[in-house]
């Protein structure tokens, strides 16, 4: 189940996708069970009831899945509403056929009407479900989410940085120049299309530029320890994972203290995994945590979009330090 499934709003799902077929199976059988449970909860009677219903429903289900897989391309060429109509007609035809054949063979209880209604209800529920799911997973929405993510640098940082640069203009024009260059680079990356993985070396360079701007205004209150001697420079990472975390570390760890504090960053490769650990001093009086949670949720979401369950992000808060640990699979650039 990935976002590349082409599940546009108002489109049918891909009936040749195993995941979709599995979902249909589970939902239909779940509804059968629910219907049977409505009648009785006595295990033996329930069993009988289920077998009874299954005798008709399972053949309908299997035939439907086969027919849908076969008609998949044709259905997707139709307009959504036409495809829905075709789908319902198809389902009713299968139901009638199976009933006609099955009732004759098995002498099953209940009239055709019962199964027609059941088929219509299930078809309706499934169409509704896949429509909602399609909306939730639509590429447009994912893109909007990623775009929203990109704009998340704190306005606080921008204005304070410009203020710091302005303060350098008269006395130290060269440092002001460099700071503006760093700021420009940082914003160039922030505003770029950041949906592709990028080499970790670039991410580290960006983080260093960001930190040099922060050093400008925080002076020796900000201390940085890099431990990246075992970092493979060609490893790939989603862009802007490190910088927002450092921004959090500065905002929550360094700015609220008048004495100097150290942010330490460790990046290393362990077998097939990349480990990123970021630690900052921290005072647990928690008044500024909304921004932090938001940044973490965003990074978690992006890691999931890129690596699914293979990546993880974890935070550990102790009495005086706060640590973020990220694990992502080791992917080399150019492979």
């Amino acid at each position: 189940m990935s976002i590349n499934q082409n599940a546009n709003t108002g489109a049918l799902p891909n009936f040749r996708n195993l995941g979709i077929l599995l979902r249909i199976l589970v939902i239909v059988d779940g509804m059968c069970l629910a219907a049977a449970l409505l009648k009785t909860t006595e295990p033996l009677v329930l069993m009988e009831e289920l077998i009874d219903v299954s005798a008709i429903v399972q053949p309908i289900l299997i035939l439907s899945l086969l027919a849908l897989a076969a008609a998949n391309d044709w259905l997707h060429r139709l307009r959504y509403w036409h495809a829905l109509a075709a789908l319902i007609v198809l389902e009713l035809a299968i139901t009638a056929a199976v009933y006609g054949f099955g009732a004759h063979m098995l002498g099953t209880a209940g009239g055709l009407g019962r199964y027609v209604i059941f088929t219509l209800v299930i078809t309706g529920v499934l169409i509704g479900y896949f429509d909602l799911r399609g909306r939730a997973l639509s590429p447009a929405l994912t893109e909007a989410r990623l775009q929203a993510l990109q704009a998340r640098i704190r306005p606080h940082f921008l204005f304070n940085s410009i203020n710091a640069v302005l303060s350098l203009m008269r006395q130290e024009p060269r440092r002001a120049e460099q700071a503006l260059e760093d700021l420009a680079d940082l914003y160039r990356v922030l505003m770029a299309d950041n949906r592709q993985l990028a080499p970790i070396a670039r991410e580290v360079a960006l983080a260093k530029q960001y930190l040099s701007i922060e050093e400008l205004r925080l002076g020796d209150r900000l201390r940085i320890e890099w431990d990246i001697s075992h970092m493979p420079a060609d490893a790939l990472i989603p862009p802007l994972v490190l910088q927002p975390l450092l921004e959090n570390a500065v905002y929550h760890g360094i700015e609220p203290r008048s004495e100097p504090g150290t942010i330490s960053i460790r990046i290393s490769r362990e077998a097939k995994e990349m480990h990123l650990t970021l630690r900052n001093p921290y005072r647990p009086n928690g008044s500024h945590h909304a921004g932090n949670r938001m940044a973490l949720a965003n990074i978690r979401e992006r890691l999931a979009l890129h690596f699914d369950a293979e990546a993880g992000i974890k935070t550990v808060a102790s009495a005086d330090t706060y640590e973020v640990r990220i694990v992502i699979p080791y992917l080399k650039a150019g492979t």
Binding site: R154, P155, H156, L158, F159, N160, I162, N163, A164, L166, S167, L168, R170, Q171, L216, R217, L218, G219, E255, P256, R257, S258, S287
Partner: protein, 256 residues
């Protein structure tokens, strides 16, 4: 020389050195057009409070986001001076504070600060209305880190964690720390609300810091009946627990 012609003395308060430099440059530019002097520079709210009695500032340019004690709280303590200077807040971005400034028509400067905005604000300074304690309290929903009292023209800061108990007496609230006591002109009910969770009300007129409670013991009334008293760490005085508040003995459960 009339008051209007006297040089305006400005204290700059900001934790970031570049921000202070920038203000110094801008104030120097303003000084060309109006009589102006830099009364001093402070990197923290506490430092500003210490400098104020001696530096005789008319105006304080006060950054809002600072470590240890933020600008809003610093302004609250500044108001305790007998003749407090005018406070103009400076901030890079603080949606919450900005909204409050607009609502209460408080002057503020947005960083990066423009020369024209700064000189306008300084030119109008003498007509500013003083900040109201209620307004400042509303702007800062979090509890203060310190209480403050004016002692012979100086502001004495009392770190909240050092407070053992607060006792209402007539017009004042007595603030007791391990070392000494202070008289505070604030209401006990409001303090209870502000520091909710840190103090427990043991009596109609007394809040005791939970951390300072060693335990409870029985004491005899004048008429021979018993009641509970609070035994404190670091302070010998024992505090009566009123009949109404007896349930806290069970809740905190440290019977000696």
């Amino acid at each position: 020389m009339t008051a209007a012609e006297q040089a305006l003395r400005v204290l700059v308060v900001d934790d970031e050195a570049p921000a202070r430099n920038r203000l110094r440059d801008l104030l120097a530019d303003c000084a060309v057009k109006m009589p102006l002097e830099i009364a001093g520079e402070a990197a923290t709210g506490r430092q500003a409070l210490e400098m104020l009695p001696a530096c005789e500032a008319d105006v304080v340019l006060l950054d809002i986001r600072m470590p240890d004690m933020d600008g809003i709280e610093t302004a609250q303590h500044i108001q305790k001076f007998d003749d407090p200077p005018v406070v103009i807040f400076t901030t890079a971005y603080d949606a919450y504070a900005l909204k409050a400034f607009e609502v209460h028509a408080i002057d503020y400067l947005l960083k990066p600060i423009r020369l024209s905005r700064l000189s306008e604000a300084l030119a109008r300074v003498r007509s500013f209305a003083p900040l109201k304690p209620d307004v400042l309290r509303e702007m800062k929903p979090d509890a203060r880190s310190h209480l403050s009292v004016n002692e012979r023209g100086r502001i004495h800061l009392i770190p909240v964690p050092e407070i053992v108990f607060l006792k209402a007496e007539l017009k004042y609230v007595t603030v007791r720390t391990a070392e000494r006591e202070f008289l505070l002109e604030e209401s006990l009910a409001r303090l209870e609300q502000e520091f909710f969770g840190r103090f427990v009300r043991v009596h109609r007129n007394c809040l005791v810091a939970k951390d300072a409670i060693r335990g409870f013991e029985r004491a005899l009334d004048a008429d021979g009946e018993g009641h509970w008293v609070v035994v404190l760490n670091n302070v010998a005085e024992k505090i009566d627990v009123s009949r109404r508040q007896q349930h806290i003995v069970r809740e905190l459960g440290r019977i000696l």
